[in-house]
Subunit: 418 residues, 2 copies
């Protein structure tokens, strides 16, 4: 069978399954998630064996140690997958919620009911644990899912899918609700992106190259974020202790993730006091600073930032620093170089706080808190399937509610239109 | 300047304007809408002159009378545009609404604030009044808009844009907030669809050919509906009078629009009584019926429906009719041939009504009411910018709220992540 036919068959099966999954009661879905968690634990030996094949292949191919680490299904990663599935079982079921019921002048009663999207395609790289996480979130929200992991993890992903598929079937979930693309060819992704009749949404997770490839080739709607160029603006009226704690945490606590800070903006009136102070802290953590002319005037030993640095997602212990004349300049800098991900202001001033919240239209905007809180768990969504920096459908961290939509429902008593 | 450069310049100007528009107060936006309405009325002579040029061109090109009618800016159409703008001024402003504020265990207070999408592209055919309607809705929701009407209406659209642009500028709306693509070349649409950095959403309105062209070529997210193949299911327990009124209204009241019924499904237990009765009504209105084998067994004189008829959007006084064994068969037929637009059940049975509402996942589902109510005004949205039959971002009729999104806002007191 050709890759095209294989993908078409998977997508048809997923569409068919999606009708059944959308109608499952919450109790059935939760039981299935518990069964899936137990099955992951019971089959850890099998999962590690299959993972070993991928690791051997990766080692032969000269994969870096960091990438090998992400590819490994350790006992900790396996019990993390099981725990994740149990957490999803504990989340409220978004499907069936009815909101906004109102009586119209003609007596029609109109509202909206939350329903699953249908079939979701997830395209991701490296980490095989995404297979279990995404399968759990899609099932809980009543969707069928087609998972397409990287070719380097193909044996691990197939093994996880097999274990999850058998367990969910035992609990009454229709066959085809959770499928993993079994072929390593990239052509499979291209074919998947054409199936707009069967797949309702594609979520790519991975590097910018993968995501651009998906956006350029997809006829199916895509929700994604390219990168996180997040800012902290230390206002003229900032509390110095809070500013230091937040600027340090946002850069250093986990520099390799998308919600860490990449550029620090400092009001010129406090730059002389704040910059030397935070520079000491950063030095102790090995952070390299790259500054604008005014910054370099204060911190003589650091490098000048280039134009590229302002738009860079370093994902590392490197930070661009700019001194600004006022909040307008800070907000203009964010609008120009930011990626609509996450921005924070540190201030004691009421009006500046409110104005920053109102006028900065990134997906998460914080006052007096670290950018690192921009995360589905931290913001109370209970889980995270991805982050969106485009404004359509979802903006910011996406939980299971973002895997649903709302239809209009209308209760009538024989009304017709005049 | 090349078409590419021209589109890029328009999009840049729109992006720049969108920051200003997103911050306008409700009072400024409403004053601008009132000014725009008055300007349309005052300049009706100029608008009709420019429209005359399009009509002359269309007549030379041999355009059909129906299309010529849609292209015409009559006094009635012009006062309708003004009235539409005043109605939009009267709608509540969705921008700035804050919902779901909750205190997290660490003291962060997290919620969401409604914000505009940014820059919206509308691609449409024939009716120049869409120019004013769409401009009003985009302005009220805080967005900049780029309008691209059909080349046959280019003089009318440019004239409307000029009048609206001057009036809105007098009221304090940034230049570039409302722009009409001035070139008739189709290449302009292609270039527009590539500008994902500047345009946040494309809404195509027109025939299926135009919409497929947009979907296949766009890197910008698209919200659309291809067609409306809407169903009415007359249940075993239907009230006969209501069933007759609804089935008649859904087909006959305005057959050329997307929310009119295209296929009637009738439970076999009542088909013998209901079909002859509704057939009489339909005959009086000149409706041509095309039936399944069982239908033809009851209504001997009608034609057999072909496989194509079940999927057809007739947009005319033609109706496909099928007798079904039960509600499951009706719902399976809708899932197979429907377009996710609008479906209605007529029944007195409580459980069948509830089940149909729950399990039919089209964008609008009605009990005991005509499909013709699937419309933004009728469902209480106050206005309609389009209809979506894909589930991403919006599903069903779209009002001004669907031209916005929500960002996360977070009030902290110095919190950092552990």
């Amino acid at each position: 069978m050709s890759v095209r036919d294989e993908m078409l068959e998977m997508a048809r099966l997923a569409k068919e399954a999606s009708y059944g999954v959308s109608r499952l009661g919450t109790d059935v879905k939760n039981r299935a998630l518990e069964e899936m968690a137990s099955a992951i634990e019971k089959n850890s030996g099998f999962l590690k064996e299959e993972n070993e094949k991928d690791l051997e292949g990766a080692a032969k191919g000269g994969m870096s140690a960091a990438m090998m680490d992400r590819l490994t299904l350790s006992d900790k990663v396996i019990s993390g997958m099981a725990e994740g599935l149990r957490q999803v079982a504990a989340l409220p079921d978004p499907v069936g919620e009815v909101t906004g019921m109102r009586r119209m002048p003609n007596g029609l009663v109109v509202g909206r009911m939350r329903i699953p999207l249908g079939v979701i395609g997830i395209i991701y790289e490296s980490r095989p644990n995404v297979t279990a996480d995404a399968a759990g979130l899609c099932l809980k929200s009543g969707n069928a899912v087609i998972l397409r992991g990287g070719s380097e993890a193909i044996n691990s992903n197939r093994a996880i899918a097999r274990v999850l598929g058998e367990a969910s079937k035992r609990a009454g979930v229709p066959a085809g609700a959770v499928q993993v693309v079994p072929t390593p060819e990239r052509e499979a992704v291209l074919e998947m992106l054409k199936l707009e009749e069967y797949i309702d949404l594609i979520i790519p997770r991975g590097g910018e190259g993968l995501i651009r490839f998906v956006v350029e080739n997809s006829r199916v709607p895509v929700i994604k974020h390219y990168k996180g160029v997040c800012h902290v603006y230390v206002d003229e009226y900032a509390d110095m202790d809070k500013a230091e704690a937040i600027a340090y945490n946002a850069k250093v606590q986990r520099p390799g993730v998308c919600n860490s800070m990449e550029t620090l903006l400092v009001h010129e009136k406090i730059a002389g006091e704040f910059l030397p102070r935070i520079h000491e802290r950063y030095k102790s953590a090995g952070v390299e600073l790259r500054g604008c002319a005014k910054t370099v005037g204060i911190l003589k030993e650091i490098k000048r930032a280039t134009e590229d640095d302002w738009a860079a997602e370093f994902l590392d212990l490197i930070l661009a620093v700019k001194v600004v004349e006022d909040m307008d300049e800070a907000m203009a800098h964010i609008a120009r170089y930011g990626s609509l991900h996450t921005e924070a202001i540190v201030t004691r001033d009421y009006s500046n706080a409110q104005r920053f919240l109102r006028e900065v239209n990134s997906s998460t905007v914080l006052v007096n808190a670290s950018t690192r809180f921009s995360d589905g768990f931290q913001l109370g969504l209970g889980a995270e399937i991805g982050i969106s920096t485009t404004k359509i459908h979802a903006f910011g961290p996406m939980g299971i509610e973002e895997l649903t939509t709302r239809k209009f429902i209308v209760y009538g008593e024989g009304q017709v239109r005049e």
